[in-house]
């Protein structure tokens, strides 16, 4: 049985201007020790997926349908008390901006110690050991000195390491990371990607890594979800999805990445822009930008095909 199973998850925001369906029948599953990458452009629903899974949605956002099964437990039926026990212990989250997730007036060591103490009755010495161990595992040099530092005394990369240490400190079964390296320089990003890969391999934690950059998850993830306008439009093993995408949007996304091999040629660009979620077309949300679209694409949404690779398209690209 997979550690996490998400089936037909729907999240809606009831706003003055109408109901925004931010997630539309999102399905995927994740085994222990595996990494799921979620890629998509702004507004595709990647972050809403993370917040829905962690039950962190603010009003007016609400999960309105579907199932989230975590370790055999139906999380949609979980009480707020149960959520407080789960979050930070069995499941943890890393956000894009560590300045938002770290308390600016608490020392690093005290913040991490709090995460342990809330969930486990341990002595001071044992907590101290655990904090030290977590900081070491995320590659922080001189962890004893860093424990006495305040967040503003650390660089952006170091702060994100502390946020990751805070997520792994209780040995969670699942970590959800929402664009954790987007704000960092490439050399620091490469360090964190390398360390995360080691962590997952050694601890057996399952990881959901959300990013807008397919190049970041390409080597890290086992499986890949591609999202567009609130739907997962393609889902499968990462190498297969990249080598032979079935959905025209995935193909377009990969082809529009600039690289040195295409110098002097025009870049492929997907025409148009992502539709606003308040005014989604009746059929496939990608149809107005799609070169393969036919009449039925505009009239009704394509079904979720799960023939080997999962995708949502009436006219998928052939696999070679």
């Amino acid at each position: 049985m997979p550690l996490l199973e998400v089936r037909n998850l729907v999240t809606e925001f009831h706003t003055g201007a109408g109901v925004v369906r931010a997630l539309d029948r999102v399905s995927f599953s994740l085994e222990r020790g595996r990494v799921l990458g979620i890629v998509g452009e702004s507004g595709s629903g990647k972050s809403v997926t993370a917040f829905s899974l962690m039950n962190l949605l603010d009003a007016p956002g609400r999960v309105t349908a579907g199932e989230i099964v975590f370790g055999g437990e139906d999380l949609r039926a979980a009480s707020e008390k149960r959520w407080r026990a789960l979050r930070g212990d069995r499941m943890a989250m890393v956000f894009q901006d560590p300045m938002m997730s770290l308390n600016p007036v608490l020392r690093i060591g005290d913040q991490l110690a709090e995460t342990v103490a809330i969930h486990h009755k341990l002595g001071k010495a044992a907590i101290h050991e655990r904090v030290l161990g977590a900081l070491r595992r995320v590659g922080i040099a001189a962890p004893l000195e860093r424990m006495r530092a305040y967040p503003h005394e650390l660089s952006g990369g170091m702060r994100q390491r502390v946020a990751i240490a805070n997520a792994i400190i209780n040995g969670p079964d699942l970590i959800i990371a929402d664009e954790p390296t987007t704000a960092l320089d490439v050399t620091i990003q490469a360090q964190i990607l390398y360390e995360m890969k080691q962590l997952v391999e050694h601890s057996g934690t399952a990881l959901v890594w959300i990013t807008h950059d397919i190049g970041v998850v390409k080597d890290l993830a086992d499986d890949l979800c591609v999202m567009y306008a609130g739907s997962v439009i393609e889902y499968g093993p990462v190498a297969e999805v990249i080598a032979s995408p079935r959905h025209p949007y995935t193909r377009g996304l990969i082809d529009s990445l600039p690289n040195g091999g295409a110098r002097g040629q025009r870049l492929y660009a997907i025409p148009g822009a992502t539709p606003p979620l308040l005014a989604l077309p009746a059929g496939c949300a990608f149809a107005p930008r799609c070169g393969r679209a036919a009449a039925r694409c505009a009239s009704r949404p394509p079904p979720w095909e799960e023939a080997g690779r999962a995708f949502r398209c009436f006219y998928p690209l052939e696999t070679p």
């Binding site: 702004s42 600039p258 690289n259 660009a269």
Partner: protein, 328 residues
């Protein structure tokens, strides 16, 4: 090829303004320790040929935006010189900088939310008398068409546009002064991948149709590899490598360039597999002695900690500031 823009030993130092007490103390002749200065850009010599795209890459804080702002005349130069079309413009006013325009990273911040698009696009041309007020509507419509927008958008406000459309508006504003040279400071970094490709194509089309020259500043190496003819790599305010783009990406000489290229996520490369370079960019307030990169460099020699390597032309045709390359 004629040189359009030339910088010689361009430098920018940011010094804190002394406090009231410090000024009073110095007036009284008391000895006082000066607050440290940041050497944001140090001794940057670059030339850009007419019609060329020069890529300028490096991590945050390396000084690449400061170089761009000095070239565009938005920041005064501390020392060194800047010449354009053979004339010295180091201390020239805005009029001498009209042919050098800039496109910024964030089109949400670079457009005034309360100014209509026709005002955004035509204001500078009207101010400098390049267009008569009665011709402004047609002038605006022509510019919007050039960047692939409908002329009717002139009467809208910035919030009514998507990120990609806003960046097109920012490009139309830059084109309004009929520039020869455009400084693009992370001009496609805030855009989604599918929209980014559209804007890159627009830059390349404009280069063809208007014979434009670009300084393309970006941390995104894949974009620079695609768009640039030559690439300059900066580290802590100085250029560490400068060469033909193909050659920089195929055979980087400086250890920092090598690390940067190996660490950048690209479709053709495996990133999470290799052991990335250690450490972080040092503080420009307290830069390491010798070569600024030596504390992170896997090949550093004793000499690297004491003697700063000069930018020199190596056998491979790269300008490289590294003792190892010079010795080889």
């Amino acid at each position: 090829m004629t040189t359009l823009l030339q910088t010689r030993a361009l430098s920018k130092t940011f010094s804190p303004r002394p406090s009231v007490f410090a000024r009073a103390a110095s007036n009284l002749g008391l000895p006082l320790r000066a607050a440290p200065s940041v050497y944001a850009v140090d001794d940057v010599t670059l030339s850009v040929a007419k019609g060329e795209v020069l890529g300028l890459v490096g991590e945050s804080g390396c000084g690449k935006s400061t170089v761009g702002r000095m070239i565009a005349g938005l920041l005064p130069v501390t020392s060194g010189s800047l010449s354009f079309e053979g004339q010295d413009i180091t201390r020239a006013g805005a009029e001498r900088h009209l042919k050098i325009q800039m496109v910024f990273q964030n089109p949400y911040a670079s457009l005034n939310p309360r100014q209509r698009i026709d005002g955004v696009v035509t204001e500078a041309a009207l101010y400098h008398g390049l267009v008569a007020p009665r011709d402004a509507p047609d002038f605006c419509a022509g510019l919007l068409r050039k960047v692939g927008l409908d002329p009717s958008y002139a009467l809208r406000y910035p919030h009514q546009f998507s990120g990609g459309q806003r960046q097109r508006i920012a490009i139309a504003r830059a084109l309004a002064l009929d520039p020869e040279f455009i400084v693009c400071d992370e001009a496609v970094s805030a855009l989604d991948v599918s929209v980014q490709a559209q804007v890159i194509n627009l830059f390349m089309d404009l280069r063809e149709s208007r014979d434009l020259t670009y300084l393309f500043i970006s941390h995104n190496l894949a974009v620079v590899e695609y768009i640039a003819d030559r690439v300059a790599v900066m580290y802590l305010g100085r250029i560490v490598e400068l060469a033909d783009a193909r050659s920089v990406f195929a055979a980087p000489q400086h250890p920092y360039t090598q690390a940067l290229i190996a660490d950048a996520p690209r479709m053709g490369a495996k990133v999470a597999e290799h052991r990335p370079i250690r450490g972080e960019l040092p503080s420009p307030l307290d830069p390491p002695g010798g070569c600024a990169f030596h504390p992170r460099c896997p090949h550093a020699l004793a000499r690297c900690a004491v003697e700063r390597p000069a930018l020199a032309l190596s056998a491979s045709g790269h300008w490289t500031a590294c003792h190892l390359v010079a010795a080889a």
